[in-house]
Symmetry: C2
Subunit: 385 residues, 2 copies
Amino acid sequence: MRIAILGGDGYLGWPTALRLSAKGHDVHVVDNGLRRRLHTEAGSDSLTPIASLPERIAAWRAISGEEIALTEGDLTEWAVVERLFRSFEPEAVVHYGEMPSAPYSMKDRAHAVFTQTNNVVNTLNVIYAIRDLAPGCHLVKLGTMGEYGTPNIDIEEGFIEIAHNGRSDYLPFPKLPGSMYHLSKVHDSHNIHFACRVWGMAATDLNQGVVYGIRTEETGLDDALLTRFDYDDVFGTALNRFCLQAVVGHPLTVYGKGGQTRGYLNIEDTLQCVELALTHPAQPGEFRVFNQFTEQFSIIELAELVQKAGAHVGLDVDLGPVDNPRFEAEEHYYNPVHTKLLDLGLRPHLLSETLIESMFAGIERFKGRALQAHILPRDRWRPSA
Amino acid sequence: MRIAILGGDGYLGWPTALRLSAKGHDVHVVDNGLRRRLHTEAGSDSLTPIASLPERIAAWRAISGEEIALTEGDLTEWAVVERLFRSFEPEAVVHYGEMPSAPYSMKDRAHAVFTQTNNVVNTLNVIYAIRDLAPGCHLVKLGTMGEYGTPNIDIEEGFIEIAHNGRSDYLPFPKLPGSMYHLSKVHDSHNIHFACRVWGMAATDLNQGVVYGIRTEETGLDDALLTRFDYDDVFGTALNRFCLQAVVGHPLTVYGKGGQTRGYLNIEDTLQCVELALTHPAQPGEFRVFNQFTEQFSIIELAELVQKAGAHVGLDVDLGPVDNPRFEAEEHYYNPVHTKLLDLGLRPHLLSETLIESMFAGIERFKGRALQAHILPRDRWRPSA
């Protein structure tokens, strides 16, 4: 299959490109280097020393004999998107190509405007390109479980049957997004749903939980293939950050009471899910939503798990609660459905102390690169007066 | 009250400015002249010959002795918004300042991107300005009933109690917007809801139906105060277009079967509703949604009403069904609640043959200015291959 991977230089985009290339697909990655640039501006960096995108692609060619095509360009520019679609003629698009950080989007007005403009415009460009240049192309879009927020009812996969005053309809699940970034993903979801309803586009929206892990089968083959590992306050996510903190001796940054419960999945499972979506595509006109995670944990449960695994390997891990910079419920009901990907054949890699210990080992190799000044959160959801 | 009216040069913005000024409020209008510019580019125009914004303001000063302040600027530019908030210190903002046309937004990709960027960014700028420069300011935002689409259940005012698997929650009503423009309004609603939830902003979202009418109490005082009247395929709306078509002898442009049912209201009632929202403000942290219309009609009912009123005054009106350029259900359930504004004291001006005949008279004066070439629809929701 000819598959374009948007955001193919990222934490998940790059391992996805490798996996699909390894499986024999014709892969074309697109990236504008935004994440690397934002790290440079902030003085932060990936824990893992990652090769440039052309270097990575050359390394993969040398190791596997497979060719990955490359566009270094910005998807908010129509000329970039149009050239990609005309020259590559993708049969599927895996769309990771967005600004993915809630704290970044909440820094101030300009960051909010950038986040929403960047994400909404590049997705509009993609759906128009599919409509006009590749009508049969299947869009696999990375969404986020954060679109739903924490309602007081079970969260369904994208839609819910609502009975009301003696009638009923199957309608989009209401959204309570928790940041300017999460809002941008809700906007995308509405735009894509429209393209399916009105233009007959086929789309799968993967509302993903928090991903953890430092290696995949392919990135582990050679250091030149390593994927990035963000542990800083802006781009790092909960479990990855805790593992890094444990290794470098920083108290775990548990925000507030730590009762915030979310869905989580192993990076290997992200690759499985994306592949399952691609090989079992949505039908024309279908807007299919999968809740993409395998287990749910509260922050404090994760912190205690990391503490316990740390004790096994001789790491003395402190739980250091910090003032919650976010505006979110710290104790709440949470029960999202996540059966559709299991029905397609997903076989989860569940979280265990062993797995956490293997993450410690992966981090240990590069711990000299860790910048402690970038661990504590700085961006507050409600700026003080 | 110090009230900023964004989009204060428009069909509704200008009469709202006059009404609030007449009631003794301190009014500041902001407009970038977008609508006039888009008409110039398209070769179309308002039926009514409207004065420039500075001329209108001067005429109002001469007639009423009241001063309306003016900013000619683009709300997507932060400098414009910041200067407005710092200098005027609004206590309320009435936000009409968006690109309001579904057909315009559906012309092509570039128009969709412009519509969503323009509307989302200017609203983000406004909510950040309120947060940082005028925390107590009440935002009265014009939304649209078109955000809901036509679900198969009763439409509530913004939120719905959903019972599911033995639990329940009061959640945002699901949205099925029918164009790139309507999508932009859904995006705005989510952003504003977030600002209320997280920053404690007070906002009223007026999900307005289709407005009709050619004059208000104040615009009728002098021709220099006339508000615009759009009848073209891009900016004109159903009943106004039908009345113009009846007067100039054009068959009524009933799209498809004409079973499309929507909420409607008189332009005088828009002014009443906005004033009611301002004088009964939302509370800090409250995101209040009012469905702002007084009656519902199907397109064919409106067309027949216009035909009947035409017969009374000697106009021979043909119903000329045209291929529906939109993608929408032409027969559907429709029962939206609209009691909150009535509860605040709204006294509707209902539609009648007499009222339509008075619109005919208002149109008759300027019918020599009507451009028949701009009546039939040109922008299709699903471009042919």
